[in-house]
Amino acid sequence: MLREETAKKLREIVGEDYYLDSVEDLISYSYDSSVVEAMPEAVLLPGSTQQVSAIMKVANEDEISVTPRGAGTNLSGGSVPLKGGVVLVLTRMNRLLKLSRENRYAIVEAGLINLELQNQVKKEGLFYPPDPASWTVSTLGGNVAENAGGPRGVKYGVTRDWILGLKAVLADGRIINAGGITAKNVTGIDLMSLFTGSEGCLGIVTEITLKLLPLPPFQQSIQAFFPQMDATSKTVARIIGSGIIPVALEIMDKVVMNMVEDSVHIGLNRDVEGTLLIMVDGEEATCKQQMSAIIKICKEEGSSDIQVAKSAKEEDDLWLARRSAFGVMSRKKPTCILEDCTVPVSNLQAMIRGTSEICDKYNLTVGIMAHAGDGNTHPMIITDKRDKEEWERVEKAISEIFQLTVDLGGTLSGEHGIGTSKKPFLPLIMNEDARRLMVEIKSVLDPKGILNPGKFIE
């Protein structure tokens, strides 16, 4: 529990209704979509940047840990309050503050839900590309903190690529503005990059200015089924190598597809070893040209069946299936460990094959899914955390998968962040001086170490 005088000050800032400390509320903010859990001492739901700033002043003075949180859908434990203290929830700050059609940008509060923004800008003929699988619930502030990606990343990149400016509250309550609303901006150090993906360890982003695109006039998706898994990654490498940039290029293996079909019943082919989901967008004629080139490559690589989505509904079904893939894995066994290893596209085949071999060696069930177009694999190991013996095997397998990633020139996380779960593996990828630099940067911004303590910068 917080000291009464601290609690009193915090209550005064957010108001009684938005200071929660019943055991039920504390439990409800003790987890995110990862397996890590830890109880906070209080939960605050501020309504403005000013309130966030006032909270940080109190927290800094009284040395209270603060873990910022959006919808709590991250997969790396980033929003779990490992050292207790308060969880600072930004879901109430969910306004779209400004939408400029002529300059193509939107200013949003951190708690606005990704899909809400997508729907709002679509009405104006505009488009916000990053589309994490959790987009129906995840907040844009959370997307910035984790530098979230999504299937459309192949063509459109990740959240960082769409940020023009932001407002952040520092550990001592100071408010800073970074960037602006212009398309080009090299004024000063790129502070946006510093905060993006910092997982709430350097400051709390409360407002974001996002770059938008004109809504592409046409999009088309296909699903290609392959009798061998290897053929899927080979096809991906060929498509990327051919110079076509699809919007999304996803791989799902037989295990994932069967579980997805159990959940959504959209008639996925249960017998093939692998499938590719591919989307292109742009002018209709160009899309059709690109799609026929893609279909040709798929056929040459032995695709046994290619289905073209014929309506918006069929497109939606295909992508809904992909977005629910993490959740569906929990049908067979309760715990699903979803990793995020990313390798150069040309090494994708070796990565997927190696991951399967490691899981076979430890006798684990793994479903393989990948944002294949950017080499971002999502192996999902299903287990039951209550089964200690199996859990040990899972941990061994994960270490080996990380080592394999590094051997193949890859990195630990493509879009989910390091959080707590991948922290021990950082030395595989960053040398000591680089890690020390991160700690030094944090110590300047957060000298008392109150922002999201226990996470990857330590």
């Binding site: 439990i27 929830v89 708690g111 995840s138 959740g327 929990s330």
Partner: protein
């Protein structure tokens, strides 16, 4: 046995059955239910979300926390048991099963409150209901009037928008067996539920009229009790069990083609809820045997919503002839217990599109909860109103003059809130009846 021993035994008695418990462990905490939940979307607070309550359930089951009064309040006030989270859950977690079981244990600990207790005793016993219906009508007659009605509100429900009671219970208006003229295509049992019996008699009449003209013999068993759903969702499984036993005994009958239900909520009780409640009570040794479970499973298998049955046999429908005048714009609201509970959504739309005189328009978020949730709107008026307002806005945006739906609960909620806008709420089957009669909906 001394008190201490009893207490230890009580403590070691399992709270929920193993099957129910397992649901909490299959929650991947992915959070996709947050968007589906009408309450979370208004509150944006995790403890009000389905995921939050599943995690709380885990802590309760594992004995970390008790079902405190606050917890009990969360279970009741933050959930309409609409099943939206169940429909959205990729992991197949049955939050409805879990939450309704926990409500049972919460009600055991903290009681139901006097009004609910009385109300449930009344609806669980048919004769009490008809007496009280008469009483309710009398009260309304004595105390009603434009002045007082516009000032009374039951929670979120404007009283002047609530439809009046049937002059006579629906069940008394028909013989037990209504035969069609000519060839008999099918034989069905009709479970009409309390709403049709006491309030929406016209819906019942439409069901009988449409089905018999399709060549269906309709049998309407006498002395049908409440389906029990409002009772067990409030946690009173003991009273609900008497209803469930009666209904299963009366309707789980071989040799009929289907049991027809016109109410989304009753339908989902017969189809979805009975079996898991009975299994849990059986597994916990609470006086339910395998025979009852088997009969309930059989009943679940033959129960059909009326729109689903008519659609499955739409070749038995006579040809409709359009009448003079412009088409009337109709939109459709998906009752949660129909679209999420029973997977029925395509069928009523298909039927509406068959009807002449009707221009069908889809509203935005047609499958979002109306905020009613039976007595939820009365007890938690403020939250209910926020959800209802969204539904009302979506209806008004279509410019429709009629909202078709398949649930008396939704009809009351939506109807009461749209009365001032001159938009009518009507059961799908009533529109079919009008088309058969060559009448235009007004």
């Amino acid at each position: 046995m001394n008190e201490k021993v009893l207490k230890v035994m009580e403590k070691n008695r399992p709270l929920l059955s193993d099957v129910t418990n397992e649901h909490v462990y299959h929650c991947a905490k992915c959070g996709l239910c947050l968007d589906a939940c009408p309450v979370y979307r208004e509150m944006l607070t995790e403890s009000y979300s389905p995921r939050g309550k599943v995690q709380l359930a885990k802590h309760i089951i594992e004995g970390d926390i008790e079902i405190t009064e606050h917890m009990s309040d969360i279970l009741f006030s933050s959930c309409l048991l609409c099943g939206s989270c169940v429909a959205a859950c990729p992991s197949g977690v049955r939050q409805d099963v879990l939450f309704s079981s926990l409500r049972w244990r919460a009600a055991e600990r903290h009681g139901l409150g006097f009004t609910k207790n009385l109300f449930f005793q009344v609806i669980a016993h048919g004769w009490l209901m008809s007496t009280s219906a008469w009483f309710g009508k009398w009260v309304r007659k004595i105390f009603s009037g434009p002045w007082i009605e516009s000032r009374i509100k039951f929670g979120n429900l404007p009283v002047d928008g609530i439809p009046p009671m049937n002059p006579k219970p629906f069940n008394d208006e028909f013989p037990e067996i209504v035969r069609p003229e000519g060839v008999v295509n099918a034989r069905v049992l009709y479970f009409h539920g309390c709403a049709t019996n006491y309030v929406f008699g016209d819906v019942g009449k439409a069901v009988v009229s449409v089905l018999t003209r399709m060549g269906v013999q309709v049998e309407i068993p006498k002395k049908q009790s409440c389906c029990g759903l409002p009772i067990f969702l409030s946690g009173d499984r003991k009273t609900a069990l008497t209803c469930i036993k009666e209904i299963v005994g009366m309707f789980s009958r071989e040799g009929v083609d289907a049991v027809i239900v016109d109410c989304a909520t009753c339908g989902s009780a017969l189809r979805n809820e009975y079996v898991h409640i009975l299994k849990e009570l059986r597994d916990l040794g609470e006086g339910v045997d395998d025979d009852l479970v088997n009969s309930a499973e059989y009943l679940a298998g033959i129960t059909m919503d009326v729109s689903e049955f008519i659609d499955a046999h739409c070749d038995w429908l006579p040809e409709f002839h359009p009448t003079e005048g412009e088409k009337i714009r109709v939109t459709y609201h998906d009752p949660c217990h129909l679209v999420k509970g029973q997977g029925v959504g395509v069928q009523p739309r298909h039927l509406l599109k068959l009807l002449p005189n009707i221009e069908f328009v889809e509203m935005e978020e047609a499958d979002r909860c109306c905020g009613g949730g039976g007595e939820y709107q009365i007890e938690y008026g403020e939250m209910s109103a926020r959800i209802t307002n969204r539904k009302v806005e979506n209806v008004l945006k279509t410019g429709a003059g009629i909202v078709a739906t398949g649930c008396p609960g939704c009809s009351i909620t939506i109807g009461a809130h749209l009365a001032k806008d001159n938009v009518k709420t009507i059961h799908t089957v009533q529109l079919i009846q009008m088309a058969m009669d060559g009448k235009r909906p007004e």
